[in-house]
């Protein structure tokens, strides 16, 4: 049994410490994925919380053999984001914030630079097709493997690789200087 499998198994049995470890290791990645999808800090925070609440409620029913834990967790996030757009009656289109709040930065110039970079990322991702955006958010935002992305999106890995490649080509055209 791998270390991760051991932690997940303990979390399934109600071990709070194990769940806390899973939370600690994945919170930022789930948040980044959600943020790239909704483009709004407050919504991303709420949705990320809902993902982990749902995960805590449902973890007892999680079966390792059906899919890796990451895929299971990101599937919850994926479904939650879909629900969000459906309930809000919003078209899945990234809503750019006027002022993106960043973690407190001691260097204001660096903070401003990072803010501009994030805005660029979101603005460019918005121009991709929904499927490409999904793959890019999971691959670049959350650093999931192609196999994990395929499980989350219920596509085969070949399709994921094609979506990924086409997305990169499109993004490349948006950044002709290769910045």
């Amino acid at each position: 049994m791998s270390i991760e499998e051991d932690i997940v198994t303990r979390a399934i049995k109600g071990d709070g410490e194990a769940f806390a470890q899973l939370y600690e290791e994945r919170f930022d990645k789930i948040y980044r994925y959600v943020y790239l999808k909704v483009g709004n800090e407050a919504e991303a925070e709420d949705l990320t919380q809902e993902v982990f609440v749902k995960a805590l409620e449902a973890i007892a029913s999680y079966k390792w053999r059906n899919s890796p834990f990451n895929s299971w967790l990101f599937r919850i996030a994926h479904n939650r984001v879909i629900d969000y757009f459906r309930k809000e009656g919003k078209v899945e289109k990234v809503a750019l914030e006027d002022d993106i709040a960043l973690p407190s930065e001691s260097n204001p110039a660096l903070a401003a630079e990072r803010e501009i970079e994030i805005q660029e990322v979101i603005k460019n991702i918005e121009k991709l097709s929904p499927a490409q955006r999904e793959v890019i958010s999971l691959r670049f935002g959350s650093e999931l493997s192609t196999a994990e992305v395929a499980k989350v999106l219920r596509k085969n890995t070949g399709t994921v690789k094609a979506l990924q490649y086409n997305a990169i080509v499109a993004l490349r055209k948006m950044l002709p200087s290769g910045r």
């Binding site: 109600g14 709070g16 980044r32 973690p103 650093e143």
Partner: protein, 275 residues
């Protein structure tokens, strides 16, 4: 692009995500280097820029606190199920308490499970806890509830501290200490003996004998609960301390000190109680 090139691009991307440089991929696939270069640079740029998206530390701590409260609530729910056979005892008291529940509104009590001391439903939360203690007749179960409620107070201290609301902390510490103080009071109980658990001869018991005692029975279970609660509470408090504004750091540090001492004392007292 051929399937092979797509695979190569993906393979290179995997390596970049693992921390390898783009140059590593060029060396690994020299024939495709010119084709891969602009695409991988674009990918690397997006990975780097995306990594700047970070949740606010206070958000992470807040969600953690909520999850911890949920976790405690689930443990309590599981215990409630086990406790059903007590229905035949002390009917009058139980019915009075149930009536109290109905009057307050079960929904309100449930909704109050996660509220914080500065929120309107907090009094309902405390009343709900008191009703549960009143409705619980087993000393062991009472002790378990006190441990859980002490854990709740620790989470609330952390949340208040991280929100810069230091005024609430001292009262919460007092409530926390009261709950832990009750664990030994009710934990030093007859039913441990009734359930066939052999009490150790306080600190004089040989280590092996003490361990055997702790592993079985209600007392061992209480000690495990105390240890788990101690770890979770200190974890959440230390997490809060890192994120707390300067104004509440001292209060949180003091809380951590007291919480540590009180848990250790409760565990020591329980372990060395005559049972």
């Amino acid at each position: 692009m051929s399937q092979k090139s797509e695979d190569i691009f993906n393979e290179c991307l995997e390596q970049i995500l693992k921390g390898e440089s783009i140059e590593y991929c060029f060396k690994a696939y020299p024939e495709q280097a010119s084709e891969l270069e602009p695409l991988l640079k674009t990918a690397a740029t997006f990975i780097r820029k995306s990594s700047a998206i970070q949740p606010a530390p206070e958000c992470k701590a807040r969600v953690y606190s909520r999850l911890q409260a949920m976790f405690y609530a689930r443990q309590e729910k599981a215990q409630r199920r086990v406790r059903i056979p007590i229905w035949h005892r002390k009917w009058a008291l139980a019915m009075t308490a149930i009536l109290g529940f109905l009057l307050i509104g079960v929904g309100t009590v449930a909704a109050s499970a996660y509220v914080l001391p500065d929120e309107p439903l907090y009094a309902v939360k405390l009343a709900g806890e008191q009703v549960r203690l009143t409705l619980t007749f087993s000393d062991t179960d009472k002790a378990k509830l006190h441990i859980q409620f002490a854990g709740r107070r620790a989470v609330e201290i952390a949340e208040m501290g991280s929100q810069g609301k230091g005024d609430e902390i001292s009262a919460l510490i007092e409530q926390f200490a009261n709950h832990l103080g009750q664990v030994y009071g009710v934990g030093n109980m007859d039913e441990l003996v009734e359930s066939g658990v052999k009490a150790p001869a306080a600190t004089l018991a040989p280590a092996g004998e003490t361990e055997a005692f702790e592993e079985g029975g209600d007392k061992g279970e209480l000690e495990k609960m105390l240890s788990d609660s101690r770890e979770l509470s200190l974890d959440v408090l230390e997490n809060a301390l890192e994120k707390a504004p300067q104004a509440t750091k001292a209060s949180l540090e003091q809380a951590i000190e007291i919480v540590t001492i009180d848990y250790d004392r409760a565990i020591y007292d329980l372990r060395n109680s005559a049972g």
